[in-house]
Symmetry: D2
Subunit: 405 residues, 4 copies
C-alpha cells in the first residue's frame, strides 16, 4: 500500500503506445467531478448528451450502445447479440487483434473461419498478412462459394493496433454485396475511432466495435457497439445467451438517457468532455491532424532506414506506426532501454512479431513537439542499442513538421 | 454539448442514495493521475498491490477477479464461469436485486428456482419477504428434497440494496452443509462490501460478487468475483460460453499484476487509494462506523413514527435504511420535492415498493454532520409534503450522535 | 514531510468560519490548470477578463487593483498609495479587524485617531462598540471639528469579520459630505464582498479593500483595492514610500491585461471561475441567498436563547453570526470539542472577546443542508458542554428553511 | 466570461520560459485540497512542516519568512526590514532584474549606487555587464573607498533570470569581509533556488530573496526572505515603514506554525508537496540534473552557431540559457512564430536586450525529452525565420543526452 503511483523521475512520462493514449487534463478534470445519482434528472441529461454526441463520431444515425467494459467486452457483445452457438463467422487476420477476436469467437462457441493473405513477404516471411490490409476480393470469393449461407458474419479490423495497418471497410461492404451474401458485417475500430475517418452508416457496417482509450483520449473502461437495423433484427433471434451485453434493454432505456444497470458515471463525464473537444476542433480537422502526425513519424522511420510494418502505403495507419527492427536487435530490449533512460513507453511487438518490431502511437493528447520528443527518444535509444541508422529521423521529422502547418 | 455537469445551485450536492456513494476527494484526485501503459512495469506493481489489498477486504486468501464492469457484470461472471445451460439455481428473493439476479440467470439459459418468505406482513402485504433476511431453514429444506442434486448453486444477497435488509450468510452455509448438498454458494455483497462485515473464507462462500461504487467509495465501473477452490474447479467443466468473464486467463495473468485485456487503469488508481484509506482506518473501525451511522438514522426514522423497511432488528443494514411512507404519500413525489428544495438525492422504492418507500444511504464519504443534514432534508421535506410526524427525527439523531462517540 | 494534509476521519470537513470559506470544486479544478506564461497572449485575455469581471462585483467603473497578497496587504496598499508620513486618519473601531487596521496604520507612520461607540452594553460591557455598526454622526461631528483638515482619510469596516456586524457605508459618505470635509473614504469589505451588497461607486468610496477567501470563495492569496478618481489623484502626491503596492504601474499595465510583476496565475484562474459563477447566479440572487442563510442561523441562535453578537438588527451581517456564550462557558473549549467530535471548524472570539463568543460563517460553498449540519454540530456541542439551551436551534432553522424557498 | 483557459490546440503546451516553470501534476493536485482554517490545529502542523523544509532548501538554520506575494514583494521586504530612508545600497547590474531591484530601492526612498562591468563586448556592446557575473573585486574596491560607511547593504543577483548568468556569491562575501565593511549582503536567488546550489549560511548571506514559481515548481504567489542574525538585528532599528513585510510578528508566530495574517493556504499545500519531491530526489541530485540539462541545451545552441548570452563558461546558469539572435533577426518575432506553430513559450529579451535574444528555461517539471522537444521547436522556428544555422542543435543535444545518463 506504499506504492507511489506518480513516481516517474521528473517531467511528464511520454505514453506513446497505440493506446491507452495520453489523456488531456481537461478530461482528467472532468472525470474528477463528484459522482451523481444514475437515476436522477441530471444524469438523464448527461446520458442523452453523450449518446447523441457519440453517434456523430461513429457517423451514424443508429443507436450506439455504451458498455462499462474494455474493448474486448464490446467484441463479445457484438457476437453475442447477433449470433447463435455453432455459427460460422468469416474473420480476416490482419494482425494480433484480429487473431484474438477469432479466439474469443471460439470461446463463445462460434466457428471462426480465418482468411489471410499468404503472398510472400521478404521482410517478415512469418506474417505476410500482418503487413497489409484486408483483401476484399478474398472475402468476396469465399462468400460466393458459401452457397448454403453458413457464414453468418464477416469480421474485420479497421485499424490494426498490432501493426499500424488499416483496411478498406467500404471495399469489404462492396465485396459482400457483390457476392449477394446476407452475412452481417462487423468491424473493430477500437483504435481507429476519432482518429481515422470512419463511417458506420455510409460504409454499411452492421456492428462497429470501439473503446474509450484511443482516439477518444479517455482512460480505458468504456466499450461501444454501433448498430444497424439489420443487426438489431438479428439480435431478436440470435441464440447465444447474454444479459450484460444484451442490446434490447439498453437501447430501450437509453431513450431517456438512462441504463438498465449502473453506468460508469465518471468515465461518462470524461466522454462528455471528449465529445466537446472533438466537436470544437471538428472531425475533419481531427482526422487531418492524425494524418499529418503519421506523415512526420513515417518520415523519421524512413530516414532511419528501418522498414515500416505496413507494406502498403495506401493503408498506412494515421494512429500508429509499426517499426521493424533489424535482425538481431531485440525490439523489447530496445523498448526497455528507452523506457529506463528516457521515460518513454512504446508499444511492444505482439504475437508473431514479438521482439521484431515496436509501435509508436501518434494519438491522444499529443502535438508536433511531443512526437519529436518521442522520435528523439527512439533515435537515442536505437543508437545506444548499437543500431546503425541510415540518417536522422528526428531531422527528417523536423523537416516534415516545419514545412507543413 | 453545452450541458453543465457540475451545476447544482450552491454548496455540495448530498448524494445519500445507497450507492453510488459520495466519493472522497482523495479518491477523485488519485483517479486523475495520468493513465499509464497497462503492459509496463509500473502497472504490474499497481496490479499486484490492488489484487493483494482487495483480498483483505473480502477477508479471503483466494483469488479475487477484478472486471471493468458494473456489479451486474460480476453477477453474470459468477454464473457463467461455474454453470452450464439448463442448470437449476436456487435463489432467495430478499428484494429487487435478488429478483433481478434471477432474471439475469434466466437470460443466460439457467433455471432459477425462487424461494421467498410468505408469512403475513401487515405493513407491506405485497412483499413480506422484502422485509426480512434469507430464511436459511427454507434453503436447507429445499436442498434436502433435492435428492437428484439438480440444484447446482444457491444464490443469496448479503445486503439488499433495495430494502436495507441483510442476511446471515454463515447460516446459509450451515444450511447447505446440514443438507449435505454439493451446490455452490454464491453471494452478492455489492452494497455490503467494505461497509458491513463480510467473510468470504470463514463463511465458506464459493463466489462473492461485489462492485466499486458502494463501500469502496469509488465511482461505478469495477465488478468483483471472489473465488473458492471449489468454484475454480467448477469453472473447468462449466458449459456456459464465456470469454470476457472467463476466470482462467485473468487469474493466470494476475499472478504478475496484469490482465489479459485492458483494465480500467484510472479506476484502479482509485481502488488503490480506497484500499489505503480502509487500511489506515482498519476494517473493524469501518464496520463500527457504519453501524453507528445506521443507529442514528434509525433513531430518526423511529422518532418520525415511520416504519423501517427491515422488520427484523437482527438484520438491519449498516449501509442503508428503507423508510416506508404512510399510505397515500407518494414516496417518489416526496423524493423529488426534497431534491429540488434541498439538493439531496435519496434512493427510490424499487419494483414492488415503487412509491411506497425511500432509502437513505449512510455510506461513502459521510460523517455525523452530513447524515444530520440528510435527515434534516428528509424531515423538512416530509413536513412540506404534509406528512404528520410523531416527533423530530433530527432531534433523535442528535441525541444519538451526541451521546455516542 | 510525512504530514497528511487531507486526513480528516471520514466525510468532508465543515469549514464554517467566516473565511477562508469552503471553496467550490469548480474553483479548485480551475486552479489546477497548468500555469501559463504571464507575458504571453493567453494571459492578457485572462487578465482583461478578470479585471473586467471584478469591477462588476465591486459595482464600480473605476480600476480595481489585484495584488498577490492577503487582505492585510490590501489594507497597507490603500494607505501607502494615498497618504504621507504623519497623516492623521480617522478610524472607527467596530471590532478586532478595525483595531488591527489602525495598528497597521501606526506601523506605517500614520496617526490613527479612533472613534468608538461608548454607550452601555449589558451583555458585553467591555466592548459596546463591537456590537453595533459605525455611528456616522460621530464621524460627522469629528470632521466638523477638524477645521484645519488634518484628517486625511476616514477608514471604516463594512462587514466586521470579528463580530458579524455591518456598517452603513452610504451614511458615512453622507456624513463626510455633510461636514464638507475633503478626507478620503476608505472601506474594508474583505469579508463582505460578493456576499453582502456593496456599491463602490454609488456609495462614493475612494478606496475599497477586499480579499479572495470570503465571498469570492477562493483560497486566500489575492488582495484588492478598488479606486476612485480622487484616490488616484491623491496617489500622485502621497509621500509614503511604496513599490510593490504602487497603483501607477499596475493600473498602466492592466490596460492590456498584464502586471508589472508576476501575478499569481493559478489563483487568477480561480477568480475567473468565481466571477463566472457569480454572474451565472446574479449578484442580487447571491446577496439574497446570504441574507436567507443568515436568517436561518439567527433563528437557531435565538431558539437556543443565546445572545447574537450584533445588537442592532438593522446591521446583522449576512456573512457570519457571532454567538455569545453564557458566562462561565469557555467558547474556545466549546469550539475545540465541536472540532474534535464533529469535524466542524467555527470562528474564535478575537481580541476583547476571546473565549466569550464564537462565530458561525455562512458563506462560500454552502447550502441549507450544510448550514443545518453546522447548527446540529453546534447544538450537540453546546449540550455536551453542559450549556442549558432554551430550545432547539436546529428545529428553528428547519422551520425557517422549510418555509422559505 | 466565456474565455477558455485551457484551450491550446492539442497536446500539452511547452512552457519553457525561465519561470513560472512547468508545475508537476503532483503539486497541482496537492493545491486542489480543500482550504482549511488557518487558525486550526491541522494548519499549525502544515506551517511547521513547510517552515522546516524550506530551510533545508536555502541551506540555512535561520528563519525563512514566507510571504503571500510575488518575488518582487520579497525584494521589497528585504530592504524595508533592514534599511532606513536615504540609506545607500550598493547594487551590481548583472541584468534586467538587478536593474529593476535598484529601481524598487529608489521608489522606497533608498539611494542605490550601481556597479557594472564596463569592459568591451563585441557581441553585445550595449550591455557588456549583462554577459558576465558579479565582479567581486569591484565591490571590494568600492567598499574600501567607503570610509564613512555610508553603504548599508550590498545587493547582488545570484542567477540572473534575464540573461542566464550566475554570480559567485561566496566571492562577494569574501570581498565585503576583505574590505572590512559592515554592509549587509542581500542576494536575489529567485530563479536559482532549488535548481542551482545555493548556501545561505555557508556563504554568509544576510537576506536571501526567492520565490515559488521557479525551482520550487509552484505557481507564482509565494515570496521568501531567508534571514541572518545580523539582518534580524538590523531590523530592530531600520527606519523604513513596514507592516505587511515586517519580520518580527511573522517570525514570532511562525514558532507555532501560524502567521499573523491569512497565509495562502493552497500554495502552502503545493510547497509541502514540492519540498517532499525535492527531499525524495535529494538536493545534490536536483542540482546535477539541472547542470546536465543546461549542458544539453548549450550543446544545441553551440551547434546552431549562435552566441550564448553568458560569455563566461564559469558562470553558466543551470536554470536557463540566453540565446543571442543574429543581427537583423527579431527575437520576439521568432518567439511569436514558434509559439503559434509549435505551442512553445520561450522567454523574451528584456530591457536593453529586447529583440536581440530569447531565453530557454530548463527547470521545473521537465526531462530530456521535453528539452529535446523544446530545442526542436526552436530549431524549426529558426529555420522558418530564415536563420542560417551552422548545424543541428537537436542532433548535438541528442548526442549529449544519449551519452550522459
Amino acid at each position: 500500500m506504499t506504492l507511489k503511483l506518480d513516481a516517474h523521475p521528473t517531467g511528464r512520462h511520454f505514453l506513446q503506445i497505440p493506446g491507452p493514449s495520453p489523456v488531456p487534463d481537461r478530461i482528467l478534470r472532468a472525470m474528477s467531478l463528484p459522482t451523481i445519482d444514475h437515476r436522477g434528472p441530471e444524469f438523464g441529461a448527461l446520458g442523452l448528451a453523450v449518446l447523441s454526441g457519440i453517434r456523430e463520431v461513429f457517423q451514424t444515425r443508429q443507436p450506439v450502445v455504451i458498455y462499462p467494459s474494455s474493448g474486448t467486452g464490446a467484441w463479445e457483445a457484438a457476437l453475442a447479440n447477433t449470433l447463435s452457438p455453432g455459427d460460422t463467422v468469416l474473420m480476416y487476420e490482419t494482425g494480433q487483434f484480429a487473431a484474438l477476436w477469432a479466439r474469443l469467437a471460439t470461446r463463445l462457441g462460434l466457428r471462426p473461419e480465418i482468411l489471410a493473405w499468404d503472398g510472400e513477404d521478404a521482410v517478415l516471411p512469418q506474417a505476410p498478412s500482418w503487413r497489409r490490409g484486408v483483401q476484399a476480393e478474398m472475402i468476396e470469393a469465399r462468400l460466393r462459394r458459401d452457397s448454403e449461407r453458413t457464414i453468418k458474419a464477416v469480421c474485420v479490423v479497421h485499424n490494426e493496433t498490432s501493426t499500424g495497418v488499416t483496411s478498406d471497410v467500404a471495399a469489404v461492404r462492396r465485396a459482400i454485396d457483390a457476392a449477394g451474401h446476407p452475412a452481417l458485417l462487423m468491424v473493430d475500430t477500437i483504435s481507429g475511432l476519432a482518429s481515422a475517418d470512419y463511417r458506420h452508416d455510409e460504409w454499411g457496417v452492421d456492428v462497429t466495435i470501439s473503446g474509450s482509450q484511443k482516439g477518444l483520449m479517455l482512460p480505458p473502461g468504456i466499450g461501444f457497439n454501433a448498430l444497424s437495423p439489420r443487426a438489431l433484427e438479428a439480435s431478436k433471434t440470435a441464440g447465444l445467451p447474454r444479459s450484460y451485453w444484451a442490446w434490447d434493454e439498453i437501447v430501450e432505456m437509453n431513450r431517456d438517457g438512462y441504463w438498465p444497470y449502473t453506468p460508469n458515471t465518471n468515465l461518462l463525464y470524461g466522454l462528455h468532455e471528449s465529445l466537446a473537444m472533438l466537436k470544437e476542433e471538428g472531425l475533419p480537422q481531427v482526422f487531418a491532424r492524425h494524418q499529418r502526425w503519421a506523415g512526420g513519424v513515417r518520415a523519421a522511420v524512413t530516414a532511419w532506414g528501418l522498414p515500416i510494418q505496413c507494406a502498403d502505403p495506401a493503408v498506412y495507419s494515421p494512429v500508429l506506426t509499426g517499426v521493424i527492427t533489424p535482425p538481431g536487435v531485440d525490439a523489447d530490449a530496445l523498448r526497455q532501454l528507452i523506457h529506463q533512460r528516457f521515460d518513454l513507453s512504446l508499444g511492444t511487438g505482439l504475437g508473431k512479431l514479438k521482439g521484431r518490431m515496436f509501435r509508436i502511437g501518434h494519438l491522444g493528447d499529443s502535438n508536433d513537439l511531443t512526437l519529436l520528443a518521442t522520435l528523439a527518444g527512439c533515435e537515442m535509444g536505437l543508437k545506444l542499442a548499437g543500431v546503425a541508422l541510415a540518417g536522422s529521423g528526428v531531422q527528417a521529422a523536423m523537416d516534415f513538421f516545419g514545412k507543413q502547418s
